[in-house]
């Protein structure tokens, strides 16, 4: 008996009724896009959280480094003032401490503000602020400088009070 052409297993494999190449691709792309979006959204949250955490961690380290160096400059300034001769023509009490801070905290630019009580470091994006109290007893001139290498200076020649000043390098 003669068999009908296209029948049996081979016919089933080649049967494309209800399935088109276009629909197949669209389905593939749609599922891929949904999967990718889900992953991006999920990782995006993690990314923001991790960036925020890294920035805060770096700001904390930078603030503590700056505060420690302000206290170092304060100790040196007080040592320079102890038993200082105020006679005319003698050397001024002068202290300068250079601090090599990075330009960015976890890849984000930041600013350093300093006053009599604390060193405050902050970034705008993400918005993060860390205030590190310092124990300097010498007066500190309030200042705000761009994050990066700084110098803490003290200079006193006459009888007036000397101030610690923070400047960019």
């Amino acid at each position: 008996m003669r068999e009908r052409p296209g029948s049996g297993p081979i016919r089933l494999l080649r049967d494309e009724r209800g399935v088109s190449v276009t629909v197949g691709y669209v389905l593939t792309l749609a599922i891929g896009a949904i999967l990718l979006s889900g992953v991006v959204i999920g990782i995006g949250g993690v990314l923001d959280a991790q960036t925020d955490r890294a920035v805060r961690g770096d700001l904390s380290v930078l603030g503590q480094t700056a505060a420690a160096n302000v206290e170092s400059a304060d100790r040196l300034a007080r040592a320079a003032e102890t038993d200082r001769s105020s006679a005319n023509g003698t050397l001024n009490a002068s202290v300068s401490v250079a601090v090599d801070l990075p330009d960015r905290a976890a890849g984000v630019p930041y600013r350093i503000a300093i006053d009599d009580d604390a060193v405050t470091v902050r970034t705008d994006r993400p918005e993060a602020t860390m205030a590190i109290p310092h124990a300097a007893r010498t007066n500190v001139t309030p200042a705000s400088v761009r994050g990066g290498p700084i110098r803490i200076e003290y200079e006193r020649s006459g009888a007036g009070p000397g101030n610690l000043t923070v400047v960019e390098r």
Binding site: T28, V46, L47, G57, D58, L76, S85, T90, L91, V95
Partner: protein, 328 residues
């Protein structure tokens, strides 16, 4: 044995044709795998950054000032010892004393420079100025038993130590100390005086009492002699024996206050021992004293200029060195 080797690429499987449906099946899996791989790499990078930040956060912050303070302490200590040694050597006159100090500071500068150059610091020390005075020493038994001028019209005194023999002290109490005890009278030219009494407080202890303007004194501190032949009463260092005894030296006679005052030893026969003091006169180079025979030219104080630099730090100051001066 089964053949598990891959056959040659089939054009129809790769580029379409009758078997194209079979090739499409892996695309979704590939895309998903790629996305997952990229995600995992991103996560690893982010976690690495966080771990790095935390690692940095836990690092110690090095203090920049330790070495500069060490240099200052070394310079001040060295200059103080130099002045003390110069004065103890009893120079013939003030010029000789000044030359010795100047030469000594140059040597000290060379030593400190070499020592800190090895550690990457540059130091420079030079003598800025010197204030002259007198170093007065004497046996208490050799001075006038009633009243003897130790130093007249002085502005500052340092290293004022009386090494008393505990067995020679008069036994008395605060009420009787004014008349019976050996004491030092510090008479401020602007008014007021202080008396520092040293006596045996009836219990065998060496006792120091302080009174104002000749009034009955108040016992300040005491120490047992413990068999020692000498107990040091350090008036400017405010110590009795090996213990601190704050309040001996009047606050009004401490630098930078430059009032003239006179130091007199009274009732010296009520104690035995030796007295030593270095004083700066209000004018001139030498102080007036009744112990002129044992007074020598001395350097009272020196001002040294100290500079210390490293790559990160600059420290400069002019320090007054007067070892044994009362603290402000």
């Amino acid at each position: 044995m089964a053949d598990v080797s891959l056959g040659p690429p089939d054009r129809d499987r790769l580029f379409g044709g009758d078997g194209a449906r079979e090739a499409d099946r892996a695309q979704l899996l590939l895309v998903a795998g790629l996305v997952m791989a990229v995600s995992l790499v991103t996560l690893v990078v982010l976690l690495n950054a966080t771990i790095y930040s935390e690692n940095v956060a836990t690092r110690g912050i090095e203090s920049a000032d330790g070495e500069a303070l060490e240099v200052r302490a070394t310079a001040v200590g060295g200059a103080g010892e130099l002045i003390g040694a110069t004065n103890r050597a009893e120079p013939a006159n003030h010029s000789e004393a000044n030359e010795r100090v100047e030469s000594g500071v140059e040597d000290l500068d060379a030593e400190i420079s070499r020592s800190y150059a090895e550690r990457g610091g540059v130091t420079h020390l030079n003598l800025s100025s010197v204030e002259n005075g007198s170093r007065v020493t004497g046996e208490l038994g050799a001075v006038d038993p009633n009243a003897s001028l130790l130093a007249g019209n002085v502005t500052r005194t340092r290293g004022f130590v009386i090494d008393v023999d505990p067995d020679s002290l008069n036994e008395t109490d605060p009420a009787g100390a004014v008349d019976d005890a050996f004491h030092v009278d510090l008479n401020d030219s602007t008014g007021g005086s202080r008396q520092v009494y040293v006596y045996d407080g009836t219990d065998g202890n060496v006792t120091v009492a302080v009174g104002e303007n000749g009034s009955a004194p108040t016992a300040l501190c005491e120490t047992p002699p413990d068999g020692r032949s000498r107990v040091a009463v350090d008036l400017t260092g405010e110590r009795l024996g090996d213990r601190p005894c704050p309040g001996i030296w009047p606050r009004g006679l401490v630098a930078p206050d430059d009032d003239d005052y006179t130091v007199t030893l009274v009732n010296a026969s009520s104690a035995g021992g030796e007295v030593t003091a270095t004083a700066r006169p209000a004018s001139g180079d030498s102080v007036s004293t009744d112990l002129a025979a044992t007074a020598t030219a001395a350097v009272y104080e020196a001002t040294i200029e100290l500079r210390y630099r490293t790559a990160e730090l600059r420290f400069e100051t002019a320090v007054r060195v007067a070892p044994g001066e009362p603290d402000a």
